[in-house]
Symmetry: D2
Subunit: 449 residues, 4 copies
């Protein structure tokens, strides 16, 4: 599973490019396929973007050549192949209202219709990204002012979008009326920051002052901060998977600590899905906090018995055929000294296709564990996401067509249990969250074609 | 001085991507800043482009992943800096009439007005290239068929343009009504090739069958070749500098051999600007053919006394300050054995700012030449080009504000002479050529802003 | 502080090169400056080595070209600068007794004298590495058999050395008589592995069968395994810092689990250096296990409140001057949700110069901690190491010339305490370990020059 | 065919590293596999070397970190594969007499015996290069002074060697007693230069003052230049192929201009092997000068009808199988405007296996030539070289086992003729040259094993 993207914007920093690069860097976990920044200086926006990580694309020499005190940044998720960088963001456009850039996290569900409509009016599409439609809606707006045109354009969009715009003199942040994806605001000594997560505040030392609200536009410029509701809020539908898996543990998203929420998942899981065992361990990194919570609630000792290796499997492409070292093995190592002869509770955040879970159980057993009990800190994953998360197709999800008992057998665990939906919802406050990937109850109308 | 670009297109080859890459490779001299290709396959166009040379950007693995039997390619000239590749071509667009790509050589002189007009109609410009305006004129055309929309768009353009379009099933080549930039057609065993120069026919073994005519559109598709005049031809205004400097000597452009034309320049120069000397030498590579012609006419022996070094100066960026090896010295070497004690006639194609000429004369003298007589195979260069050649600003051109005698003294030659305008025109057939950079007589109205 | 190196050897695997690369990969934490492998095939040894990480130097295409079923590998620590790769290992030599390679972890304390002696006899030294002397001692031995010559050479060496030799048909492992550095043996389905740590057994699925003993030579060849004492064992002097910091937690070194030992350090620290607090946290990665032990013993909850960022600071070289983001901040992130308003016990493995500790305390405070109590899971570090660890010079060590109270104030902690020496020794079994860096009691005579 | 190497040394330049890099650069044609430099500064020698071209290995940042006023350099020829850089030169050694480096052009014919002898005395060989034996002979010499030890070592060597040594305070140049390979001396404003060819004097502006004589040692140090005969000269046996093919045309080697010599070959060839034709052309680059000479003598016009492409074929590795563009075609282009309907004399320097010649003839014919007469500016190549040139094995040489008529037919020429041996020798002064590759008469005794 992959998060779609991370967005970032900074207003009022003497070295906006460097800060934006660091902002992208701290949100690298939200997308590793491509990255980019756009910086405004002397009435012109300069954009640098490319395939690869922040350190590869946004090198120091590149950054040093980008003066300016306003900038936005973007990270995009990793896909297979893709020799083109046309879809890397931010997108920068010159339209009759002026020049602007945009960085997007989410999925515009009516992009196809909007695209057809824009094309009919003479638009030139140069990418396959759903984000590009925003540029054209702005350009085709009859509003002569850029802000008004953007406002009008946002009114046409459906789906999930946390957006950060850059104009030659301001940052404009906006969020869809349901609030699917996070978008936080921080205040620095000399200006403001917006980002997907508060972990992006570390290097600019911003103080968290809240979120861009669903249906809200927030403008940062020389007059300070201005906010207004461009459309009425709908039922808040914040992505619960940000708490389960995507966001960094030290982040606050949707006004809630990620690490604390994960610990709460673990405590509730221990309450309702207990099992006799000697130790509790978590699958790094997202499973560690739920494991801590589980251990706390159950009184069973927590151990750090699975560790990440020095490098990700990605570094070992083209493995020779005779070898067949599994990528899980390249990423993770188990500690025999802690596992030998133990009855082990393994906490993981979710089961997608089931093969990763099976390999982890095998890894733990091969290090000597006597029993392996898998506990999942979220419910059974059964439905696709239309709001910015890349979930495999339903028939690839092991939870479709298999009972918990069947899955347990397939992955080779001694026991398996999921966190019940109502408890997950209780941990995040019982409402305001989208849980469609577990329930199929989508907050918006979806036209599947 | 820099040529703007080279364009290439191939219809009907089982490995169009590989052929397009080779086409770009053979036209690399027309632009080294960026390169790209677009290939159509199964109704979709894939584009790969980037900063750098053909061998760097269009690597074999990239090419191998691009099936298709139709493709176009582009090389772009080298600029200083430029950390963005937004302006690399071909540009690929999806518009209401379908998907297409375009590669452009030339300069659209009314791009600014067209751009403003398109923006007013809601266009999104994503680059600063004058070529992008073509995409928008096509998109905003009311013609439902792509070919008709392109035809209509071309009618709006002013200036110099040799264009190669790719659609999902055809190549469309077009040339401005004055015919400023070259565009040749070749027939292969299984299809057709268009290119800036015939040197691009080497790897596809095409047979030259003529040029795209000024004001003409030529379509290559499954029905074969179709041509029509989309606008009346204007006074033919072919760029004489293609013959003087840009084109490769083994190319035919504007129906005329480049090497033969250069030899003719040299012969005429010898006739009207003789000087007593022991040997005639040419500055590689463009000066060599004129030197051969000069030697032939004058009866003075031709020698290869200046040779290119193993690498261009470009490889030695960041020279240490104490060193001060001149870039001319890194590029060229003189042969003392051939020059020692000789009275030498040096033939070069042009004098721009004069500093290169000065260094060459110094190089020849330091190898022992007793006298150095510089002969230039073109007239005095005095005016900017608005049709696709990057000439320094008029006040940087040494021929503005200096007499031939003054230039001779400034560059340190024993004598200096230029090829008179009327003889240059005679060598290329006396008409059909633009010589505005020597005369200031521009074939089209130019609005300088 | 830096570990000097990691060594690896495999006998009897159809793809020894691939396995050696994976062995190096799993020991990458023992050295990131350079890496290399040597593989024997058809009577000849091929060596590939270079500056940089395993994934950079030992690429898949390189590995695929190296057939053979015996190989050795080496990782070397990172130094600043160093544009030469002459010191990368393994070293491969052809001498009168045949061809062999060697990989070394440790420091040969009499290298200077041995080098002078070898030079006097006509040796050519091609590197500045202390390891090269081994090649020459072998070459100058009068023993006609390679094994005997190696045995004789080892008898001349003083200091710390865990060595893995490759000949055209065998692996020879050897360890100095004090056993300073680790060297473990594993049995695979078809042969044997030797390595610095058992974490290197993960990808070859070896079963741990013990250590190369101090003063022992172990030979792996077609006759199986053969071992003999080439010199009497001296007082076992195993490096206690392997347990404190260097080794990976899931490794066993010196017959003892690293994670378990670190937890024991933490438990003892809690016993003798208690402090009232709300949470216990560890500095990743080495401090985490001692923190778990401390929490277990004290009953104060363990939290994962400091996490590693996505990338190491190394990726952000050449930081702009205005920025001044600290490298600690680039590496580590604190979690305000877990730290806000808390009294925090921070466990770290050691204090070297003190500046890192100061920054970590600042990081924890800036995330909202009310009190920060630092507990160190080892004694005060005061003396240099002559046995393979790169410790700063004594006057750079903060523990020299400062009391615990002074250090506490300098680094800005609310309280500070170290693990007493006798408890550390108790945790590792009270003897068999070198603790000279804490006590100055060196097991061997050291001639400092 | 490949030249083995180029050597370079400079004494007395404030930026010796930069000058050595430029020296290597200007001799890049003598070897492209690897390159390196060694610079002495403050009593220590630093060496930087690696696989690839000068611009790739000796980058500006590397050079900038190398102070010193004495340095030597080396280029090595290109081989296929070779993932190791162990054989790159200069070699640097520390021996009992001190530290020194050496760069070698040639082949030491008794390297095998010398190696065995050194190994018996306890030498450690770390490469497979014949040059390494020199280090060991120096190290094993009983002479306490480095110069004397080097002198003694040289007395043991047989074969071809032009050597440049670097010590911490001097350059020592030496040449074998037959003088097989060139070694020229130049005087700069502040010191001296030695190099394989005078083309290496361009960037240091040295004035040619002669050659290191066969059997001579020349020392450059703070006392100036000192020369002595370390062994009696043997029959001068200078490599005639330096004039035919290897050396750059603007160089002087063996006291003779390369371009003038090639022109002389061409004139003699025209005299004895005339043919009726319309034009004379040369195969770039080595055939051009002989073609000029042929044209001069015969009165048939010289044309530049074959030109080199923008890049070498090397850039197009991994060509797709369907394509089959020949490497000759990627390197060379023919000019139809100059060749169409012509009777053409093509001059090339030699025929090795014959396939290249066949392709060139095909290329010229496909550009329209009516007749193609090949003239070779050297005799039939029939024997291997033992003195530093890599000639294919005798059975691969087309001249073995085929008559001139047969070769003519095989390569598809209308006529073929070689320069007779006695005329070639006459052109270079009738003696002093080794012509063993044409005659099998080797100046030294060769033990073939």
């Amino acid at each position: 599973m992959r998060e779609e993207c991370g967005v970032f914007g900074i207003y009022g920093h003497p070295n906006a490019a460097e800060q934006t690069r660091l902002g992208n860097h701290s949100q690298q976990h939200r997308g590793e396929e491509s990255t980019g920044i756009a910086v405004a200086h002397n009435g012109t926006i300069t954009t640098v973007k490319g395939m690869g990580s922040v350190t590869k694309v946004l090198t120091q020499p590149v950054i040093n050549q980008l003066p300016g005190f306003i900038g936005i940044g973007h990270n995009r998720y990793s896909t297979q192949g893709g020799s083109t960088n046309d879809n890397a963001q931010p997108f920068t456009a010159t339209v009759k209202q002026g020049q602007f850039s945009v960085a997007h996290n989410g999925t515009i569900t009516n992009a196809k219709e909007m695209r057809a409509e824009c094309e009919d009016k003479g638009a030139v599409f140069q990418t396959t990204s759903d984000t590009e439609v925003i540029l054209h809606l702005v350009a085709q707006s009859q509003q002569p002012e850029l802000l008004n045109a953007i406002t009008e354009a946002l009114g046409r969009l459906e789906g999930a979008f946390s957006l950060v715009f850059l104009t030659v003199d301001s940052i404009i942040a906006a969020r869809d009326p349901y609030g699917f994806r996070p978008l936080v605001i921080g205040r620095t000594e000399t200006g403001f920051v917006v980002a997907s997560e508060t972990c992006a505040f570390q290097y600019n030392r911003a103080v968290y002052i809240g979120e861009v609200e669903p249906g809200e536009i927030v403008i940062f410029n020389s007059s300070g901060i201005r906010r207004f509701q461009y459309t009425p809020q709908q039922t808040r539908s914040q992505c619960v998977f940000e708490h389960i898996y995507f966001a960094r543990p030290n982040s606050k998203v949707f006004g809630r600590s990620v690490s604390q929420t994960r610990k709460a998942f673990g405590r509730l899981l221990a309450e309702v899905k207990p099992v006799e065992a000697d130790i509790v361990i978590g699958v790094p990194n997202s499973g560690l906090y739920a494991a801590l919570g589980y251990a706390e609630q159950s009184g069973i000792p927590f151990e750090l018995a699975i560790t990440r290796g020095p490098l990700t499997a990605r570094s070992f492409i083209q493995p020779s055929h005779e070898l067949r070292i599994d990528t899980i093995e390249l990423k993770l190592s188990a500690d025999p000294a802690l596992l030998e002869g133990q009855r082990v509770i393994v906490i993981d955040d979710s089961i997608v296709r089931g093969n990763t879970s099976g390999k982890i159980i095998k890894l733990v057993r091969s290090a000597g564990a006597m029993e392996v009990h898998l506990r999942i800190s979220s419910p059974m994953l059964t439905h696709p996401c239309f709001y910015g998360v890349d979930i495999p197709s339903p028939d690839e999800l092991i939870a479709n067509g298999h009972s918990v008992e069947q899955i347990c057998e397939l992955i080779g665990a001694d026991s398996l249990a999921y966190l019940p939906l109502e408890l997950m919802m209780q941990a995040v406050g019982n409402s305001d969250y989208c849980n469609a990937c577990f329930t199929g109850k989508y907050p918006t109308l979806i036209n599947i074609t």
